[in-house]
Each structure stands twice: as C-alpha cells, then as structure tokens.
Symmetry: C2
Subunit: 246 residues, 2 copies
DNA sequence: GGTCTGATCTTGGTCAGACCAGTAGGCTAA
DNA sequence: TTAGCCTACTGGTCTGACCAAGATCAGACC
C-alpha cells in the first residue's frame, strides 16, 4: 500500500487528515475538486468511515472543504468564518482579551485605511459617503447609530481591497459591535460627542478622498484615542457601564 | 428533554456542536474543565458517539478543547495553531494572498511597536538588543540571518505585551519566514542591503528605546517599504526568485 | 493503621455493518 | 427523440461491539 506510505506512522484520524493535508498543500487537490467518497477514502486508507468523517469535519471547520449532503465533499476556497469562530471562542474565555482585540482592530483598520487611500475606487468612495451620511442621520439613536458607525469603519476596510485585512477585521467585528453601540449610548451623557462623532468621521473620510495615507492613519488613530477617552470618562461617571465593557 | 431545547432545530453534528458552543460561550465551560464522557454526551443529546466525536474533533481543530486519550476531553485555552493551520491551507491554495498577508503583518507589527513603546520593560529591551546584535552577526548568512531578522521583529511584537497581536503575528510568521530568508539572499545581490538591514533595525530599536511611538511606527513602515523595494528590484534582475514566492 | 497491589470501571479510539434519504445518471418506454 | 422511471451512489446517522490503558477503590500485606 504505497498510498499509505506517507501516513503510516499516524493512526486513524491523523492518518486521514495528514493524507488530505498533503494533497491540499501540494495542490493536487484544488478548490472546486470533489474528493472521493467517504467509503472509498476509508477503504483506501484502511480506516473506518467515522474516522474519515472526523477528518472531513475537521477540514470543514477549517473552511477548507465543504461536505454537501448526498453530493460529496468538495474543496472550497478558504473561508473566513473559521477565524470568526476562533475569535468568538477565544474571546469568550478570556474576556480580558477584549482590549487586546481592540488593539488588533486598530492595527488592521489603520493599515486598511492606508491601503484604502491608494486603492479606493469610486464605488468605495460612494459607500464611504453613504455610511458617513448615515452616521449623521442616526446620531441620536443608540442602535442605528452604532450600526452606522460600524458600517463606516467596515467600509474603510473594504476599500483597502485586502482580503486578509477584511477577514481579520470582520472576525473581530462581531465582538466589537457592542462597543460601537455602547459608545453611542454615551452620546446622551456627553453632548460634545455628537460633534466628535460627526466631525471625526468626516475628517477621516476627507483624508481618504485626498488619498493621504499619513493623514488618514493619524486621523483614524486620533479618532480611536478620543473614543477611548470618552469611554474612560464614562466609566468614572457611570459605573454600571463598566459591566458592559467585558 | 429540556436539555435539547436550544438545539432542537439542528440535527446530529450541529446539535452537539451548538450545545457545546453554548456552554463554551456562556462560560459554563471554562478552560481546564473536563467535559462529560463521549458516551454520556451522546445519550444526553440523543445522538450516536461518532457524531459526538465529530463535534469534539471540530472543537479540537479550533483549538478549543483537547481530547486526551483515555482521560477525557478538557477545555483548553484557545490555541494559536488554528490560525496557523488556516493560513497555511489558505496560502497553499491562494498564493496571491501572500501580499495580502504581508499587509496584515505590517498592520500588526506597526501597532505592536506603538504599544511596545509604551509597555516594553527591561527584559523586552534586552531581548530586542540581543536580537538586534544577532542581525549584525549573521548579516552574511542567509538562513541564520533570516532567522535573526525574524526574531527581532518577533521581539517587537512580544514587547507589545498584547496577546492578540502576538497570536496574529505568530500565525502569519511561519508563512513569512521564507520571506525573511529570501530577503537575506538578496544581500549578495545588493551589497547596500547590509547597511539597510543593520541601520534600519538599529533605528527601529532606538525609537522603541526612546519610547516614541510615532517615530517607531514611521521607521518600521519605512523599513518594510524599503524591503519591498529591494524585493521588487530583485524580481527584475533574478526571475527564479519568483517561483519560491508561492 | 497505613500502604501497596491488582481487579474493575471508565475513557477514548476504532471498527463493521446497517438503514435512510435524496441525487445523478443510465435505461426504458412512449 | 424525449420524458420519466429506476438503480447505484452519496452523505448522515445509528447500533453495538472490541481494545488498550488511565483511574479508582477494595483487599491484602507490612
């Protein structure tokens, strides 16, 4: 059984997984390809079908393949949701990681905005403008306002035309949406925030339009810093806000 | 069966996975906890053991739990290797993603260096100094030089004391090590690179020591930009370097 | 009484075979 | 030729079983 050669040492799951990984990484299995059936794979590798399913399921959660009921298993283009899942779980267990994730988000977004300055096209500009307008319209609503805020920032990342940045940002987005929302709740407490929210986003938008990476980055960073400042002040003045920061 | 309540809609794998996800996210299952046995889980959820194993295996590849032979399944602290796996697979199938990943790496590292300026302690400084020295010592060796380069950059991220940034950077590191290495191979072609490599890293180091985030960030960015420039020039002069970029 | 040892229970690891439900494609009948 | 049926195949799942080895506790020994 020369086919087993490369996977002889491992047993069971590892064997199947290694077998498939090899083909995947070597490129002999490309997106769109359909794998041989579970039964064939099982007999081919000398394992039982449940084991094969474990391996296929593993690849599924990694977003590498897709198991289609009664059709077969096909190789897919790497899917983002993996990162989403991972971050969701990771964050859930280490709530203190949230500040950390925020840092990563800032990292991604600041890089994205630089790229956006270079790569943004008309459609991107239009989307940015739309979402910017939305921020102004929803300035007094917590939910819609938070959503608008989020959409604007997402538009920035989209405009970077970088899949990886988009993926990473997206996977952290879910965790941070409530952060946008809670920030918006502060508007009631700090009237000056209205100006901050509208003007800051406007400045960010302008910098992108001007295709000025340095200014865009700096403005965005300042925007985050000010947001932090407001939040800190809020914590001082309104303790029960802290419970939502986890 | 009120226990099934939340997972009634799904079936099989989804049911088990959802059941566990719920507990994991809600925090009723914390790192270190041991799950109930596969058999119990199976009867509890009304599915067969192979299905339970699929779900557990899925969580395993996500780095959420660890299945210990003849011991049980325990919840672990989220593991980085997932991201590694993902990026490895993703890159294998979409080589064009490499530039993109590089962008993300720049993003992470530039944010990290800013944090490093604020948070780095003596130990961090020492590590940076050590790795910086190593770069000078190994300037003429491709392998060791690439490694030293990599270590220095990793030290920067470590000095940020941000778990998330470290994790993200680490998961992209494997893919980019060869990038460091191949960059070092250019040293032969471009003698001026020696100065670039040594002086640039030195400047970066100085900026961190000076705890000047802006300067550090700018210097690091410039460093990457120059590296890109060298690589671009190399591609023009030496085509077979491109084949190794996948 | 305390400790050591071994039988037993439990756990994961795996297999074999079976049934269901649709899907796809070949074959047949109109 | 074409519409429709029929079978082979696919994934989805279950059942029940066996193995090897860690965990546990009872009983024997010191």
């Amino acid at each position: 059984m020369e086919l087993k050669r490369a996977a002889e040492g491992e047993k069971g799951f590892e064997k199947v997984f290694a077998f498939l990984r090899e083909r995947l990484l070597a490129g002999s299995l490309k997106p769109g390809d359909r794998l041989i059936s579970e039964r064939e794979l099982a007999t081919l590798l000398g394992v039982s079908r449940p084991i094969v399913r474990e391996a296929l399921r593993a690849l599924t959660v990694l977003g590498i393949v897709e198991i289609r009921d009664r059709i077969g298993t096909v190789v897919t283009r790497p899917d983002v949701s993996v990162l989403n899942d991972f971050f969701t779980f990771a964050l859930a267990q280490q709530a203190d990681m949230l500040d950390d994730v925020m840092q990563a988000r800032v990292a991604i977004e600041c890089q994205a905005i630089r790229l956006a300055c270079e790569r943004a096209n008309i459609a991107d500009f239009e989307r940015l403008q739309r979402t910017l307008a939305k921020i102004g319209e929803t300035i007094d609503e917590a939910d819609a306002g938070g959503m608008a805020d989020f959409e604007f920032h997402r538009s920035i990342v989209t405009a970077s035309h970088s899949e990886t940045l988009t993926v990473l940002h997206g996977s952290m987005a879910g965790l941070l949406t409530h952060s946008h929302r809670s920030r918006r709740e502060l508007v009631q407490a700090f009237p000056s925030m209205k100006t901050y929210l509208i003007d800051d986003h406007r400045r960010i938008f302008d910098a992108i339009i001007a295709r000025d990476p340095e200014r865009a980055d700096a403005t965005l960073r300042k925007h985050f810093a000010i947001g932090d400042e407001y939040r800190r002040r809020a914590v001082v003045g309104d303790i029960d806000k802290t419970s939502a920061s986890g």
